[in-house]
Amino acid sequence: MLEVSGICKSFGGFRAVSNVSLSVGTKQIVAVIGPNGAGKSTLFNLITGHLQPDNGTVRLDGREITGAPPYRICRMGVGRSFQRTNVFPRLTVFENLQAAFLVHHRRGGNFWTRAEDLYRDDTAALLASIGLTGQERTLAGTLSYGNQKQLELGLALASSPAVLLLDEPTAGMSASETHETIRLLESIAAERGLTLLFTEHDMEVVFSIAQKIAVLHQGRIIAEGRPEEVRADPEVRRVYLGHGLTHTQ
């Protein structure tokens, strides 16, 4: 489904991502973990076209998408959420999602219809599935942090992506919020047949839903495999010593 091979990116002299290869199968749930500054977000930005790789390729369903502009990559079926919450603060929750549907259905070139009347049912259904029913008229910028994360997930889902990239979907959430968000993600992924690639710092989360884990350290993948394999990997244990990999808090 998604095939990253030999991708490299340097900033000045600093090699943020160095010869990383990663393959994500259809409907697979894959986690990329690693300490802060390991290059996780850079890797995501390379996949989604926010950064141009110095070297290497990204393929989606066999088609090369390396270095295409983000809006094209999105149209090809890649959805993404961002690490810092990223919604449209001065639009209402409803308008946020409705805009995402309008764009997905390529109605943006329509200068004449009332946007308000379009895709209302789709928007309402998606609102329900991300748990924001009742908040339609709230300005997105005034939502609580957790709700903004939910809305952002909705924005990513509106374009019916085949692959969904989530950058720390539970960052800043309490333990119970994290737990419920993960359950929501799992059920949505299963229901829509999504391929999921995510970064996460919470090891409990990672080991509970990921089918495959890649460990990034200083821009390189130092281990990759099924959760139990990664957990047993001595190199990973060394890097994560003191990070609570084996005994989750």
């Binding site: 989604t48 502009p69 983000p70 809006y71 999105c74 149209r75 959805g79 993404r80 961002f82 990223n86 919604v87 449209f88 603060p89 001065r90 639009l91 409803f94 308008e95 805009a99 309008l102 764009v103 997905h104 109605r107 943006g108 070139g109 329509n110 200068f111 004449w112 219809t113 009332r114 946007a115 308000e116 379009l118 209302r120 049912d121 928007t123 309402a124 259904a125 609102l127 329900a128 599935s129 748990g131 924001l132 029913t133 009742g134 339609e136 957790g146 709700n147 939910q150 924005l155 509106a158 374009s159 119970s176 919020e177 419920e180 968000t181 359950r183 929501l184 059920s187 949505i188 229901e191």
Partner: protein
């Protein structure tokens, strides 16, 4: 987090038919406030239309200026308030419209019905060319480049004697032939200036209706997502620069139409009209009225034109008073005049409901 749990359950329960399902939320329609039910816009339009009969010649003169500035400010707000682009050079498109219409009518004797749309198209075409470069830059750099293009237009207007009349400008642009208005009962005694005012009012009303429609369209919604968060907008699948360029071209075109009307109204087109300080004036007008509201800029135009007249009767320190007014407004009512009124109205309603 209750909602998430509830949602997870909902998802699990109704997963297969999720997309077809309509929830209570779908039937949430906009509740219309009392203020929405009064057709303010129609009332203001009708009042404005009575000025030639009920007001003095001077009132008609002021009203013409207000109406033209209203369209100009609304065109700027399509960039400022809707798309989040700050243009310091919007006067260029207004000026091009004025010159195109003026040159066509005066030099080539082209009728107004052709020269007027040509002015809009000419301005839009130049907006396409300059915008192509401008949208490649962001924020302050975008603003600076718009300013640079507007100064180029000014330089051309000032120096190209053969076409623009250079520093002498293009005086005595003819009025369009409005004899047909005599056939309308009550219009017979109106001066050509008053007739042109009524034509201006009608054309601006149509133009504003079109811009209003565009702002409320899917295209307009996309512009607001770009204003709020261009990075996220791109990852909805939006070609951000293309939409910014489209907004720039449309805004330029409507500014050109306003300029065409202004050239005829003021009986001439001069290089001064395109000087960069005029871009600042229209920015002030737009911000004063309230960039977050469609009707903010027209209100700003009315207030500013009116204030200018009133204050210059008493003092020559117009810029000082304008500065003071702006200062109070920016600190007291960051949403502009309309934003302030909106706030006041909502407080009043809450008081009445309590």
């Amino acid at each position: 987090m209750g909602p998430i749990r509830a949602a997870a359950v909902t998802v699990a329960a109704t997963a297969p038919e999720l997309r077809r399902r309509t929830t209570a939320a779908a039937t949430v329609r906009r509740r219309r406030a009392v203020s929405d039910r009064i057709p303010w816009v129609a009332i203001v339009f009708l009042v404005m239309a009575t000025v030639p009969w009920l007001g003095t010649r001077y009132d008609t003169f002021l009203a013409s200026q207000i109406v033209i500035d209203a369209l100009f400010a609304v065109s700027l707000n399509l960039l400022l308030g809707t798309t989040g682009l700050v243009s310091f050079g919007h006067i260029a498109y207004f000026g091009i419209g004025a010159y195109v219409c003026g040159i066509l009518m005066k030099t080539y004797g082209v009728p107004f019905s052709v020269a007027f749309p040509a002015a809009g198209l000419g301005a839009a075409l130049f907006a396409l060319i300059s915008g192509y470069f401008c949208v490649r830059l962001i924020k302050l750099y975008f603003a600076m480049l718009t300013l640079a293009f507007s100064q180029i237009v000014w330089a051309i207007a000032y120096k190209w004697n053969a076409v623009t009349g250079g520093d002498q400008g293009l005086p005595e642009i003819p009025y369009p032939n409005l004899d047909w208005m005599s056939a309308i009962p009550g219009f017979g005694d109106l001066s050509i200036g008053a007739r042109f005012y009524l034509l201006t009012l009608a054309l601006v009303a149509v133009a504003l209706a079109i811009v209003h429609r565009i702002v409320r369209s899917p295209f307009g919604r996309v512009l607001t997502t770009i204003r709020d968060n261009p990075e996220r907008a791109a990852f909805l699948g939006i070609n951000v620069r293309l939409y910014q360029l489209a907004a720039f071209v449309i805004a330029g075109g409507f500014a050109g139409l306003a300029g065409a009307l202004y050239g005829i109204f003021s009986r001439g087109v001069f290089a001064d009209y395109v000087f960069w300080s005029k871009s600042a004036e229209i920015l002030i007008m737009t911000i004063l009225g309230g960039i977050g509201y469609f009707w903010g800029p027209p209100v700003g135009a009315a207030v500013l034109v009116w204030l200018n007249q009133v204050i210059t009767d008493y003092t020559q320190y117009w810029s000082f008073v304008l500065g003071a007014v702006l200062l109070v407004l920016l600190f007291g009512f960051p949403g502009g005049i309309v934003g302030g009124l909106d706030l006041l109205w909502r407080r009043l309603k809450r008081l009445l409901n309590a």
